[in-house]
Symmetry: D2
Subunit: 349 residues, 4 copies
């Protein structure tokens, strides 16, 4: 089958591979739609170390092609979504409530990391009964595919933020994850959502997805402006959605004592992420810092699909580009180099 791989650090391209083998609990899915993620670029740049001929991609939907002998709830022909994270549910970390960390730190992140990803004609799903979700009839593949990572990670940023009903939230960066944090903050009862972003097209999307205020860090001091918007108190919750040391510092500074800094960013550089000591209340201001990795699993996916079904959010406005899988090289270039005001690139198979 045709796949799109990272050949080595810094180099991508097509490659022919055999269709994956299925264990007793596994499923083989024929890909219909996939999305390119910033993480794919990180991986190609060596962010998780060297890889050879690794199929890229972790956001996809498709149709079940075959299932292992122990799979009970899915059968060929089912239209399905797989989470970007496909945990081992019996693992100790899962039993501890952290399935994304099963097997190893970040171990639930298998696609395009510890096994081949979804940029291929077919992809393999471990523990299909626990990691697939059936897509309801009314939801197109092009919407459902956003649940795999964007909604799950973005909403997690809001959920981990302990947002009080009517509380104030700042979301630092309005890329696709940040936009879904913004939407998620609304769904978590925020009374004021402040999006921080400088790119005009993303500022517009931020407003569409629920930002009450947009702060442009190229035009005003973010800390000052957010304190002003919150009567000098700071926000209840600041969500880091970029993965940059300076943004993280801002998040700590704008959060009130007793508030939460919720991290969704993947920090790709430097030896340290730095907490500004004084604004952190010299370690005594009850400012909590939370983190997480995109929740996966059937239940999570079913709940996210339900939110699409009942029209709570429409992620499809984030699709700025569409390509056929045959044009994957150009598609990847657009996403990787952030060309043409790209937000998300959709691939059709």
């Amino acid at each position: 089958m045709k796949t799109f791989v990272m050949k080595e650090i810094g180099r991508v391209g097509f490659m022919e591979k055999p269709v994956p083998h299925l264990g007793p609990g596994d499923a083989l899915v024929r890909t219909t739609r996939a999305l390119i993620c910033t993480s794919d670029s990180h991986t190609v740049q060596g962010g998780i170390g060297p890889r050879e001929n690794l199929t890229l991609g972790h956001e996809a939907v498709g149709v079940v092609d075959a299932v292992g002998s122990e799979v009970k709830d899915f059968q060929p022909g089912d239209r399905v979504l797989a989470g970007a994270i496909t945990p081992d549910w019996g693992d100790l970390a899962s039993q501890n409530g952290y399935p994304s960390q099963s097997g190893a730190p970040l171990g639930g992140f298998k696609f395009a990391n510890s096994k081949d990803g979804v940029f291929a004609e077919f992809f393999h799903v471990n523990d299909a009964d626990a990691n697939l979700a059936r897509i309801p009839d009314g939801i197109p593949d092009a919407a459902a595919v956003y649940c795999a990572d964007m909604l799950s990670t973005g909403f997690m940023g809001a959920e981990n933020g302990n947002i009080p009903m009517g509380g104030t939230v700042a979301v630092l960066a309005q890329g696709p994850v940040g936009l879904m944090v913004t939407a998620g903050a609304r769904l978590c009862g925020a009374g004021l959502v402040i999006g921080v972003e400088s790119v005009p097209s993303r500022q517009k999307l931020a407003q569409m997805y629920g930002a009450d205020e947009v702060v442009d860090f190229t035009k005003e001091d973010v800390v000052e402006r957010i304190l002003e918007l919150t009567d000098g108190q700071g926000v209840d919750t600041a969500v880091e959605a970029l993965g940059a040391d300076v943004t993280f510092q801002t998040a700590v500074k704008i959060t009130k004592p007793g508030g939460t800094i919720s991290n969704t960013g993947y920090f790709g550089e430097g030896e340290f992420v730095r907490i500004p000591r004084v604004e952190w209340g010299v370690g005594m201001a009850d400012k909590t810092i939370t983190t997480g990795l995109c929740p996966g699993g059937r239940l999570r996916m079913e709940r996210l699909l339900r939110l699409l079904e009942t029209s709570r959010v429409d992620p499809s406005h984030m699709t700025t580009h569409e390509f056929d899988f045959d044009d994957m090289e150009r598609a990847f270039e657009v996403a990787d180099k952030k060309l043409e005001d790209v937000v998300k690139v959709m691939i059709s198979f």
Copy 2:
């Protein structure tokens, strides 16, 4: 000043009283708008025991007329909202996280219970700095007054329900509190909100406030229908918003193992509220039952007002009747006897 009182059990009417005296931390508020609550009827019927010439009412907004010597943050002329519950914030129950229970069980409930209420030209607020909130300019009194009890109690029903993002919620009864539970469930990320109600006008309001489905218990079996709507699993959260033994039992029956039954109802009758043993998993199905009394306090009121300011909910659709304070006797009759499809009765001063 003119007040509207419960003269004794079963009898109400106007009465002249002196303007309340202020302690050092207190405020006197000139009433502008108030709402009649079902609890007022309960009280008149003797629900909390006998009372003599007790001013009724606990939902009001107004303008500060005078403040005690220790009040720092409010001054005459401020347009303000007082929560229906005005806790003693230093009390042990408040320190324990339950200010509504300060002083005694349900002790934060002072208006029209342990002291005179708000159906009067002026009302008294204890610990004004902690229990009043300034009403933002854009919000009319007729909307702000709903925060005192309806939004605070209704949203509490949702907040106490541990609703997972995208989870399923049933709200049993769509009176004014139930309607605000429905709105609150949306604000807490529910993926499916099922309102249970038989009155057509309330069914319409339920949909307006966010019910995805409405179940009419006079036309179908509620338990069966809700199991059907949830693929046989039951809901993540059932909120009792009536205060009736039979509704409570239904709530337990429709909740899935691991789910929460959140109670907002005031149970006015009977020696017991009964849990159906088998459907409660013989005490082992991880079905949690939570309760609470309308949260009060300045922070809560500020956050609820913020939700009005950012247009998350518009409670004014619940105002089915408006009267001047001079017509209070008729107003009370309409509310008390639930005439003319009444939902909420607004009083202007």
Copy 3:
């Protein structure tokens, strides 16, 4: 192999059965020690409906005899403990945080319920990697076996009780589960633990396991006495450890507003479990009711074994009787009829 079964409702006895078949993830354990549980009596009396020739018992340790092809972490010869509850970890209820409810309400309860139990020369464990735990060298089988149910259920009663550091706790009944609630309350930071019990030998055990006070309900009014012991406030946490309607009512009455009633009891009778309406604050006193079913799984078992390893608790004082498996009929009679001040009956294989 030799097994001890419930032949039908009300009748038990030995029976020869074939050694269980193993699926790819399963293990076969040769039993060394087992405990009889009150639940075994409930089952024989028909508490979970009719059963035919069902092997009884769910508390056991042993030595791995054989493992399925997919089992990675265990091998023949390992000395192991299996939780009384052996969840399906990929199930939706497990993903939701409630593995004891996997598959169905109370579905993790498989031994002597949906499959044969442990009163046999060998027993079968599903998903061995997730549901077995290796017993550390220093811990005898006769202590480890208590982790399967007694420690797990008893400690859960304390954990679900939201005990504040230095808080007050009452444990209603000091049977083996109640005694482990008492020990668990100490481990959860309770500042005052009150055991309610009338049997002298159990009262002594209650003190040994950490009860600061013991209240004898045959000699004094429990509600009055507990209010007296808590300066009239009631306890932060009341744990029901009997499964009786009247005890449950007492638990509600002695709990302060804002406190928690934590249930561990299996309610075997009646249509309803009844909440006393007034003492429950007419549904508004912030009194939470929690329930649960014995947590299982490898992580739980490892953590409980660690508590034995570091001498936090010694459950062996509860062993009042010991029998060989050949004397199982007499052993069961002693446990079932609560003869000779029995607390727990240990069976050796």
Copy 4:
């Protein structure tokens, strides 16, 4: 009255001052015992900025000498404890659940910060009904005084650590706060408590207060050793009890994915506290960082006193030195310069 003050940065000494004036809710307490805290040294060194003739000290007990007109629950002659932190309970931060942050970040910290402290013949307590606790008869002043800060802060470190029943905990540094974290971890159900400390006398105290293992960072690599003690997994909870950047980094490194780093330390130096990026799972390993400031208030103090009353912990082993108030200069020198293996210095009045 005689007081011991910080005259300016770097300089301390006795000073005569008038007895404090009482507001309506306040109390005046005649000091009987006080403890010197490392924070007193920080303050003198300029850690919270310049101060002039500020009375030092925040850990004290005494006898009520006079109360304001609104104080209801205390009267002259009562033997009382005041928390080191005396919050404004009506403040928005208190209503938000963070009384230590009332008034301003760290605003509950009034003694020897925003007002005169307790190293004086009398000290002043704001909101006496909410911030004092009566000392039970059986508890000597010399034990009760430890509740003000040492038990409250140390136990908070454990409570904020989300320690699972039977979980693994490392406590970094075994000074007086660290020792009480160790004791607190035991009270929170830890199955393995590892104390990190190099001073032999503190290592012994660590074992006395509940450390199962002691790791000496001068003799072995702390990260390696703790991974070894936890089968390579890391601890569930690491508590920083020193306030040093390097210790904080170690805490992040030894915590497992899904675990908690709980901070009790006061970070006195540097622009940043640094999180090691890779060991933090590049921001995605579900490692939560919590902080806090010593909880105060009557309820907290009553609960801590109860733990002394029921013999859960005996803090008096930490008293290595005792002085009369007249010898305060020498006492302060011993504490400040950490002479003679000092742990805590007790002052008698």
